[in-house]
């Protein structure tokens, strides 16, 4: 490789990454500085965290969750991790290894939960038993177990690695459906309320490309392979559409989502249901629910009654689309 021509916007040294949305290139040092600044800005603007918060990071072994854990520690926060073994074949085995290695190398505390060992089912079986897309049972299970672990562990904030691309894609989907209730609740901080911990998304000002770059520059090994059950889902299609727009008009994703938070979310405040009406404890597990059983216990009940299903049997039709 011949030396590249791009220079860092800050120091004029050789650049390692071009960020068209900032119309700038950065060297490793100043790219990391930019990421830290963007996370600190998000935390400050939306009053996400205080230095006294006891933080639990939802860790998957992928780039975003490891990056947000790394960034929070760098910024001086106290943060433990929680990894859930979802039983998605080799994908889950390998992702767990990345999460454990990250924690061990940095002497961080990682809590692990295995869905099959502790609850008697896994995600491929749940997808088959509930006859819904795998991401539905997976999301329901993760949300329930993250909330439960945060509350039982005395944590004051649950952090997820949702980034700008994730939030823009969800906003795009909610907007396509003009789903006012979901739009009103698509906020980077959800305050704690009975039965739910405070939930925070510190990466909303950073893209997936920037988070992958953070991991590469910081020497963080993460699971590059995509979840085999997610391939072909709508979320990926929305991301591809937004990236096509971004390519033509850099900065579009950030404008779409961050201007929604500034200009539209305040107008929608109160438009959605608060989510607390009619809540009562699930008779099986005690989690807040409006139904006879909470969503997780319904999934668990159906799945435990179903014979175990290997992941290969429920792989998405969209496999191999990239």
């Amino acid at each position: 490789m011949v030396a590249a021509g791009s220079k860092c916007r800050t120091c004029r040294g050789p650049a390692i990454i071009d960020l068209p949305r900032h119309n700038a290139n950065f060297c490793a040092e100043h790219f990391l500085e930019l990421c830290r600044r963007q996370v600190a800005k998000a935390i400050d603007k939306f009053e996400m965290l205080t230095p006294d918060d006891r933080i639990l990071v939802a860790v998957s072994g992928g780039k975003d969750s490891l990056a947000v854990w790394d960034l929070l520690i760098e910024l001086g926060y106290q943060a433990d991790g929680l990894y859930i073994g979802l039983g998605i074949g080799e994908y889950s085995d390998v992702s767990g290894e990345y999460a454990k290695a990250f924690a061990a190398e940095r002497a961080l505390h990682l809590i692990t939960i295995d869905l099959r060992d502790e609850y008697g089912f896994d995600i491929p079986t749940a997808a088959k038993a509930t006859r819904r897309v795998p991401c539905s049972a997976c999301g329901t299970s993760k949300r329930h177990l993250f909330d439960k672990a945060a509350l039982e562990g005395g944590y004051t904030a649950l952090v997820t690695g949702h980034n700008l691309d994730d939030e823009a894609a969800v906003l795009f989907g909610n907007t396509l459906r003009w789903d006012v209730e979901y739009l009103a609740r698509q906020l980077p901080v959800l305050p704690a309320r009975d039965g739910f911990p405070k939930k925070v998304k510190p990466l909303i000002r950073l893209t997936e490309r920037e988070m992958a770059a953070w991991c590469i520059v910081r020497g963080i090994d993460y699971l590059v392979d995509e979840c085999p059950m997610a391939l072909g889902n709508k979320h990926l299609a929305y991301k591809a559409a937004l990236n096509a727009i971004e390519q033509e008009s850099p900065g579009s994703k950030a404008s779409f989502y961050l201007n929604f938070l500034d200009n539209m979310a305040p107008l929608l405040a109160g438009a959605g249901a608060s989510g607390v009406e009619g809540l009562h404890p699930c008779p099986s597990c005690g989690a807040p629910t409006t139904g006879d059983l909470c969503a997780f216990c319904r999934v668990a009940e159906k799945s435990r009654a179903h014979e175990p299903v290997p992941v290969e049997l429920v792989l998405s039709k969209g496999r191999g689309r990239r």
């Binding site: 490789m1 011949v2 590249a4 021509g5 791009s6 650049a15 390692i16 990454i17 071009d18 068209p20 290139n25 490793a28 998957s60 992928g62 780039k63 975003d64 991401c135 997976c138 999301g139 691309d165 994730d166 969800v170 893209t207 997936e208 490309r209 988070m211 992958a212 770059a213 590469i216 520059v217 590059v224 392979d225 995509e226 979840c227 997610a230 391939l231 889902n233 979320h235 990926l236 991301k239 591809a240 990236n243 096509a244 971004e246 390519q247 191999g320 990239r322």
Partner: protein, 65 residues
Amino acid sequence: MKVLLRNPKREIDVDGRHTVNSLLAHLDLPRESHLVICNGTLVPGDAPLAATDTVEIRPVISGGC
């Protein structure tokens, strides 16, 4: 040059002189959803790539919700 691709993991040969951006365009891969690592180092879009370089094109998009 040898180029490592992911999802699924495979190696391909690419002929001709390329920069990072022209290589991505040649393979019809969007810049916004990929990073290029050359000889173990992240490189920007205008970085020229040599035939002897070890190049990895890494997708950055995750589908989890």
